[in-house]
């Protein structure tokens, strides 16, 4: 058992991760649902009674309750992955990304004491929320995720993984959009935002 935990705890090779994601998608299809996460934002709106004012949310949210159960599981899985199956080292990114991030003032954890390398702690915390930088990255960023995924009717799981696997051309258009936005943000806007 201990060696199994140790085995799972190493950082996974990308091919292993990709195969695991594809397998999970097959299981979800067999279970009678689709592999797509962003519908959850809509489900939460519907659960909160938004259907009274906006017809998009006017449906019985209980038909979508499975996705909230799934996401509760995602949080539990995140807990297990970052504790029981914690990697021996922080996330190892390329030296050029490290150099760039350091040049714009973002610390990159080299030891576990500095962080596990998932989120930059000095940006993603409650005190940063009081700054313009924090508001833009977290509040505006979150808004864009919810607004954009509902407009495009899907996110990375629904379009990039499920849609492309099902050879859906519309999903390819959506993924092109994801990259236009991602590249503009990463190369043009974020360097400015990070220095605020």
């Amino acid at each position: 058992m201990e060696s199994l935990i140790e085995f799972i705890s190493q950082p996974w090779h990308w091919a292993v991760s990709g195969a695991a994601i594809a397998s999970l998608m097959f299981i979800m299809l067999y279970a009678g649902e689709k592999f797509g996460v962003s519908t959850s934002f809509e489900t939460i709106c519907s659960m909160g009674g938004a259907g009274k004012r906006v017809e998009l949310f006017n449906y019985d949210w209980k038909t979508q309750a499975w996705i909230l159960v799934f996401l509760t599981g995602a949080a539990i899985g995140g807990f297990l992955g970052s504790t029981v199956f914690q990697s021996p080292e922080p996330v190892q990114i390329s030296q050029s990304t490290i150099d760039y991030l350091n040049s714009v003032g973002v610390a990159t954890p080299q030891s576990k004491a500095e962080g596990l390398g998932f989120v930059p702690r000095d940006i993603f915390n409650f005190s940063t929320l009081a700054s313009l930088k924090g508001i833009i990255i977290m509040v505006v960023g979150g808004f864009f995720i919810g607004f954009g995924t509902r407009w495009a009717k899907g996110c990375t799981s629904g379009h990039a993984i499920s849609g492309l696997s099902n050879l859906q051309l519309p999903s390819l258009v959506a993924v092109i959009g994801f990259f236009i936005g991602g590249l503009v943000m990463t190369h043009l806007l974020l360097p400015i935002i990070l220095k605020l």
């Binding site: 949310f57 159960v69 799934f70 297990l80 199956f85 979150g142 943000m185």
Partner: protein, 137 residues
């Protein structure tokens, strides 16, 4: 109780997302800067194996365990909607370093401030719902 299996699938999802490091803000930066193959390897492998699997599932006429057709509806080609909505999502993805699934996974990492991003995402979805008749699709 019918939904309890999705709790288990969600746990798998959270572990996979964490161990693959796809929930790492640093990995997303690296991906959009084209400085590592890691994320492209993950998505590429998932799509190639996924396409092969779905092709075989269709070919064998596989149904869900309850005998219903697999949820593989064709997506509508609405270029404006996909491109504009996709671009807005991309901006948010690169800022927060997380797409919707990873947001919930990161809550499990104990990054409580992620709840603010999720709440903002729900609000964004609401505003889309309220404005959608005025937006190009």
């Amino acid at each position: 109780m019918k939904n309890i299996k999705f709790l288990f699938f969600g746990i798998l999802f959270g572990i996979i997302m964490t161990k693959s490091e796809a929930v790492s803000w640093y990995r997303i930066q690296e991906m959009f800067r084209f400085e590592s193959f890691h994320m492209y390897g993950i998505i590429g492998t998932a799509v190639v194996l996924g396409a092969l699997g779905i092709f075989l599932m269709k070919k064998m006429g596989l149904t869900s365990y309850e005998g219903k057709p697999l949820k593989l509806q064709a997506k509508e080609m609405q270029v404006k909607r996909l491109l504009f909505g996709g671009t807005i999502f991309g901006l948010g993805w690169a800022m927060t370093g997380a797409c919707p699934g990873p947001l919930y996974t990161l809550v499990g990492h104990g990054v409580w401030v992620i709840f603010v991003i999720i709440a903002s995402g729900v609000f964004g979805a609401y505003v889309y719902g309220a404005l959608r008749h005025k937006l190009p699709h």
